[in-house]
């Protein structure tokens, strides 16, 4: 047996898809042992092609059996346990070097497992696991599922024989595409159920059953299992904290903020160094509009020192730094503390310069602090240090937050606009700042390279651009790359626009009207109200869209006027009716707002947005009566009245924090909507 030799042990069943990448990462191991429990795919062939020693055995509903079988065949000093859906990230020769300097009393080493959970690289969950240990006849795996070697090592040498390392393993199995490809979840479920028949009150099994339910999307069952497990698990169990984290994630998913708050407020005394728990509590509080307390809780998450995980906390990437800092920034923004917000977003970006919400946050904060757009653009460049097209898109997305059209328009070089996302953003900006010719040229160049979906959008923009350039007919080059049916529709609209509008009622085909309505919306987005108005002169059906789009984009006064005229013709839809009600409330006409929304409420008695809007009106009316009473009151009454007044105002504030009001895409969206 070589000194410091490493053997890699894998068990497989139909792992052909992921096995190659796994074996690739350990191909310089001194030995690879693969226990196959009945693959029907090419797993065995793949394993052999990497020089693995493959042993086939029957699957006996017990993970420890194949693991221990592998141990019996081991010929190396050290053994590394891998799963087929994992990959060793630390190069094997570095690992060997580290093992060569390890003290002789150390029997086992934990490694960091990074679980990727979505395409976004920042979405990952890490935990420490014991995967590397010295070969020893007395060591054995225990447990039919989530088999563990640890107890047998501790039995023989005690806890001090285990140490931590920075060796890293990547686990791909939680990625959605792999999780559902295989029947692992169903298999685990069956195994756990079988074990639970024998020991129904085993908290570890219940915990794993909960996790399995969760993976299968059965949140209610998962909740029950985890709650049951929590009642039974001893406080010193290392997985207890993780169990609480998983349970709270489910609570949050199910909107059960109350049990979450109560559980965490107690458990955080015990696990005050577990950032994920602070973060979950913060999310729950933020959702309830308790912004100040949420801010505190996020701050607590940032004060957890990561890296020193003496307990095996499963922790999400960024949960102790860039995520909470970003949320703190957003809360500071909502509370009108813009300087703080800018500082917090900046802090967040120190830990992850590519985190989009923080980039958007810092951009809008600096904008609210009246920093010129070009300086903000320079700051973004410096923060992101863009290398790829994706990086540039991040910057443009942030600039869009503040309508920095001049800056976005500067991305008009070929190398950028060959990406359709950038092309559209650049053209929107160019048209908005009336650089119509440049936009036209870009469309003309890029049209042949666009996919059908992108072509549809490009045509809408280009048509508006051309009409604005020259009110006469669309030019021939407009139609060159267009499918025939689309050509016909544009020609139709274009021709109608050329004839003077009259008051006769026309009936146009539905596909034409659909196109017109899209064009009206685009015209508002592109800040070309003349085109929108021209369109609705000929196609009055577009009026409602025009008013609604104007409203959402901040021109509430113009919108109100059209909405009122549509109201007289009884042409409002529910959405537009809500907009009109919001305008009443924003203007402080609470009695009218109440009456208006009550009418809507009769049609939609359970609509929460409407319920909240009516409640806000009622509370403002209550407020006004108390204010009148205060004007008439003596000292004796006034302290009570002041108290009631402040309760009402807090209630209104909290209701406004539920986000009932349509978000108005103003140039500045930083401060909370206030109605006093």
């Amino acid at each position: 047996m070589n000194e410091h030799s490493i053997g890699v042990h894998i068990i497989t069943k139909d792992e052909a898809e992921l096995l190659p990448q796994c074996l690739e990462s350990v191909q310089h191991a001194d030995e690879i042992i693969v226990i196959d429990t009945g693959s029907k795919d090419s797993s065995i062939l793949i394993a052999r092609s990497y020089g693995a020693h493959v042993i086939s055995m029957d699957w006996e509903n017990n993970f420890s059996k194949p693991r221990n079988e592998a141990l019996r065949h081991a010929n190396t000093e050290w053994i590394l346990i891998l799963d087929a859906d994992e990959r060793l990230l630390t190069p094997l020769h570095i690992l060997k070097e580290q093992l060569s300097s390890i003290e002789s009393q150390i029997q086992a080493v934990t490694v960091t497992v990074d679980n990727l959970v979505s395409r976004q690289p920042e979405n990952r969950v890490t935990h420490q696991a014991l995967r590397l240990f010295r070969s020893d006849r007395d060591y054995e795996f225990r447990g039919i599922i989530h088999e563990q070697i640890e107890p047998s090592i501790i039995d023989k040498h005690g806890l001090s024989a285990i140490t931590n390392s920075d060796t890293q393993i990547i686990h791909l199995g939680y990625l959605p595409q792999y999780l559902h490809n295989k029947n692992k979840v169903a298999r685990n479920h069956a195994l756990l159920q079988q074990s639970l028949m024998e020991t129904p009150d085993d908290p570890f099994l219940l915990y794993n059953m909960g996790v399995t339910h969760c993976q299968a999307g059965q949140l209610e069952q998962a909740q029950l299992c985890l709650e049951h497990s929590l009642m039974l698990v001893p406080h010193n169990q290392s997985y207890r904290a993780n169990l609480i984290r998983d349970l709270c994630k489910i609570y949050l998913e199910l909107n059960l903020t109350k049990p979450l708050d109560i559980l965490l407020i107690h458990e955080l005394n015990r696990y005050s160094d577990y950032p994920d728990l602070h973060f979950l509590l913060a999310q729950s509080l933020e959702r309830q509009g308790l912004l100040e307390r949420a801010y505190d809780a996020y701050q607590n998450a940032t004060s957890c020192t990561i890296g020193i995980l003496h307990q095996r906390y499963i922790t999400e990437l960024g949960v102790a730094h860039f995520l909470p800092y970003c949320h703190m920034g957003m809360i500071a923004q909502q509370l009108g503390r813009i300087e703080d917000a800018a500082r917090l977003f900046h802090l967040s970006l120190q830990f992850n310069p590519l985190y989009t919400p923080s980039l958007k946050g810092i951009t809008s904060s600096f904008d609210a602090l009246d920093v010129p757009n070009k300086d903000i653009h320079a700051l973004l460049q410096q923060l992101v240090n863009p290398q790829t097209t994706e990086d540039h898109i991040l910057i443009i997305e942030a600039l869009k937050e503040i309508h920095a059209h001049e800056s976005i328009a500067s991305y008009s070089q070929q190398s950028y606009v060959s990406n359709p996302r950038i092309l559209f953003d650049v053209c929107i900006s160019l048209i908005t700042i009336s650089h119509l010719e440049e936009a036209s040229v870009l469309f003309n160049q890029q049209m042949p390279h666009l996919s059908y979906e992108d072509l549809i959008v490009a045509c809408q923009m280009w048509a508006i651009c051309q009409w604005q350039q020259d009110p006469k007919e669309l030019q021939d080059n407009f139609y060159v790359n267009m499918p025939l049916d689309m050509c016909k529709r544009y020609e139709f609209v274009d021709q109608i626009l050329q004839i003077p509008s009259d008051t006769t009622k026309h009936h146009y085909p539905p596909d034409i009207l659909e196109l017109v309505i899209t064009l009206v919306r685009q015209s508002v987005l592109l800040h070309q109200p003349e085109i929108a108005q021209r369109l609705i002169e000929h196609f009055p059906e577009g009026k409602l869209t025009y008013a609604s789009t104007l409203y959402v984009h901040g021109d509430t006064m113009a919108a109100a006027e059209i909405l009122l005229s549509l109201l007289q013709q009884d042409l409002l839809d529910d959405e537009a009716s809500i907009y009109l009600g919001e305008i009443l409330i924003d203007k402080g006409h609470y009695a009218q707002g109440a009456a208006w929304f009550e009418q809507l409420l009769q049609a939609h008695p359970r609509n929460e947005k409407i319920i909240t809007a009516v409640s806000i009106c009622y509370l403002h009316l209550a407020e006004s009566y108390i204010t009148e009473a205060l004007g008439l009151a003596d000292n004796h009454h006034s302290s009570h009245l002041h108290e009631d007044l402040s309760s009402i105002r807090s209630a209104i504030l909290l209701l406004n924090r539920t986000g009932w009001h349509t978000t108005i895409n103003l140039k500045r969206t930083t401060t909370e909507v206030r109605h006093d």
Binding site: D261, L268, G289, E292, E608, S650, A651, T658
Partner: protein
């Protein structure tokens, strides 16, 4: 005063224009004291006549800006074995007469601390704000003289002459009225005290007691930084077991907190807790500071400690409710903030059982139960937790009325039938009458009935009727409001408070309050429709919990 078994007591007072209070004071000690000496420093009202009526020996003395001198003039004339010192706005509790007489028999003591209960109002039934043990009865000896031109003290002169003098903490209760008025005394009176204390301090700059007094005056003026300086000076100068040592610490915490120095305030709390581990007030104060700074769990554990300790031992200056209902109430608020209903109800129940603040705590319980869909359990909870209170017809009817005002009509009805009260039949009829009437008019109902009936109709599917009435009522109110404004306007010319008392504004104010209450009740009825599955359910529940509680006069 015949057959008086105890050594004689002389009551010594200094007064100036105390006609309002003096009779009550002298009445309360009539059978206890054997001699009354009143030093009058220039009354212009009937003070002297009243004093004479009770057989007082009156000494007239020009005011020399020196409280100690005036007191000493009185006590040097005293013939009794004991000197009892009271102020005119104080009164001996009638239940304490025997204890005071008993004290007088114990000549092994040099003095007795009596417990001064400072009331917020002018009635004995008004709530007690603080309780303060003060040395108020002591042996009549020539060397026992008051010191200090303000906040004159006797203790120092006793202990100077008799370092081993035995002083006893009695439970004799003295009621002191108008404490709240005292705390809002005009600024110039405080300023006068400051001037006096400055003189005192210039004479004896190292007198810790006068530094302490100066700090108290500055706190009343809201000048906490200056107060803090004197507190520290006093701490530096005073000996280890000074009687007001614990107060210095409490006030230091208050000042720090008022100055926004949260961490320092909490450090001071910890320091004070090590020195006075049984002083409840500090625990409560620490809990309140932590709560205000959203450290809920820490606040909870320190407040629980306060409740465990109970009211502070008798030799501490303490505020009523600390360690009892106020601490429990705050624990209830913390539980509510966390979202722990049952725990909140438990604490509020505890608080209510301490009696003093029954209504406030019990109303929170009823509100929480309503918002967590436990309205139907309210009658049972009341019967189990508050069987005694529920027996009182008055309280019972008040609860029923309150529940109806808060929209818990079912609970109110159940309670009403269960308890079979007469008076509320009328009330019950009133809120239901609206539903039965086809075309209701506001003129058919009293405002109180409308406040109950409109939300009732709204809650039970008669929304149109509810709005019809409410809008009629609002129109009527607007009319009245206009008329009232006219009257007020005309009153500016003919001011005659006898012919035109403040009636129109007061009734208008009440009507505005009732209208506001009605809109609040409608809000609550509406918000209760939110589905528990909504992401905003919890936020909306909190809104319902924080809506103003109905107030019954």
């Amino acid at each position: 005063m015949i057959n008086n078994p105890h050594p004689p007591i002389t009551l010594c007072m200094i007064v100036k224009n105390e006609a309002e209070h003096l009779a009550n004071c002298l009445e309360s000690i009539q059978e206890v004291v054997d001699e009354i000496i009143v030093v009058d420093t220039g009354s212009t009202d009937s003070t002297i006549q009243i004093a004479q009526h009770y057989g007082a020996n009156i000494i007239s003395l020009p005011w020399t800006s020196d409280f100690a001198t005036a007191r000493n003039v009185g006590i040097t004339q005293a013939k009794g074995t004991w000197i009892l010192v009271l102020d005119a706005d104080e009164e001996l509790d009638q239940g304490s007469k025997d204890e005071l007489k008993l004290c007088a028999m114990h000549l092994q003591y040099e003095g007795f601390f009596l417990r001064i209960h400072n009331h917020t109002g002018k009635e004995k039934s008004s709530p007690t704000a603080t309780v303060n043990p003060i040395l108020r009865m002591f042996r009549n000896r020539p060397e026992h003289l008051f010191r200090g031109i303000i906040h004159e003290q006797i203790a120092a002169s006793i202990t100077d002459h008799r370092p081993n003098a035995a002083l006893h903490l009695s439970t004799v209760m003295i009621h002191h009225y108008g404490y709240a008025d005292h705390t809002v005394i005009e600024k110039d009176k405080i300023q006068r005290n400051v001037t006096l204390l400055e003189i005192a301090l210039s004479r004896s700059p190292n007198d810790p007691f006068q530094h302490f007094n100066m700090a108290v005056e500055y706190m009343r003026l809201g000048e906490h930084q200056k107060a803090l300086t004197h507190i520290h000076k006093s701490m530096e100068l005073s000996v280890a077991d000074t009687s007001y040592g614990h107060l210095l610490h409490k006030y230091e915490i208050r000042c720090r907190y008022a100055l926004g120095e949260i961490d320092e305030a909490l450090n001071c709390c910890n320091e004070a807790i090590t020195m006075y581990p049984e002083y409840t007030d500090i625990f409560h104060l620490k809990g309140a500071i932590l709560f205000a700074n959203r450290k809920l769990q820490e606040a909870k554990s320190v407040l629980m400690k306060a409740v465990e300790l109970g009211p502070a031992p008798t030799h501490y200056h303490t505020e009523t409710g600390l360690g009892t209902y106020l601490s429990c109430n705050m624990l209830g608020q913390i539980a509510e903030e966390v979202g722990h209903d049952s725990e909140a109800i438990t604490w509020y129940t505890k608080s209510a059982l301490f009696q003093s603040d029954w209504v406030q705590s019990s109303n929170r319980i009823l509100r929480i139960m309503k918002c967590s869909n436990q309205e139907q359990d309210i009658p049972e909870l009341l019967a189990n937790q508050f069987p005694l209170q529920i027996q009182s017809t008055e309280i019972r009817n008040e609860i029923i009325h309150w529940l109806a005002l808060d929209g818990s009509y079912q609970a109110a009805q159940t309670l009403n039938t269960q308890l079979d009260t007469n008076m509320t039949d009328e009330l019950k009829a009133s809120w239901r009458s609206l539903i039965s009437s086809d075309q209701p008019f506001t003129s058919d109902f009293s405002q109180e009935t409308l406040t109950l009936a409109i939300p009732y109709a709204y809650q039970f599917g008669q929304e149109n009727k509810a709005f019809n009435l409410l809008r009629q009522w609002e129109l009527r109110y607007q009319n009245e409001s206009r008329i009232c404004a006219d009257i007020l306007h005309s009153q500016e010319h003919v001011q005659d408070p006898v012919l035109q008392p403040n009636k129109p504004t007061e009734s208008l104010m009440n009507e505005a309050i009732l209208l506001s209450r009605t809109w609040i009740a409608l809000t609550d009825a509406l918000l209760s429709r939110t589905e528990p599955t909504s992401p905003h359910y919890s936020a909306i529940r909190r809104v319902r919990l924080m809506l103003p509680l109905p107030r019954i006069k």
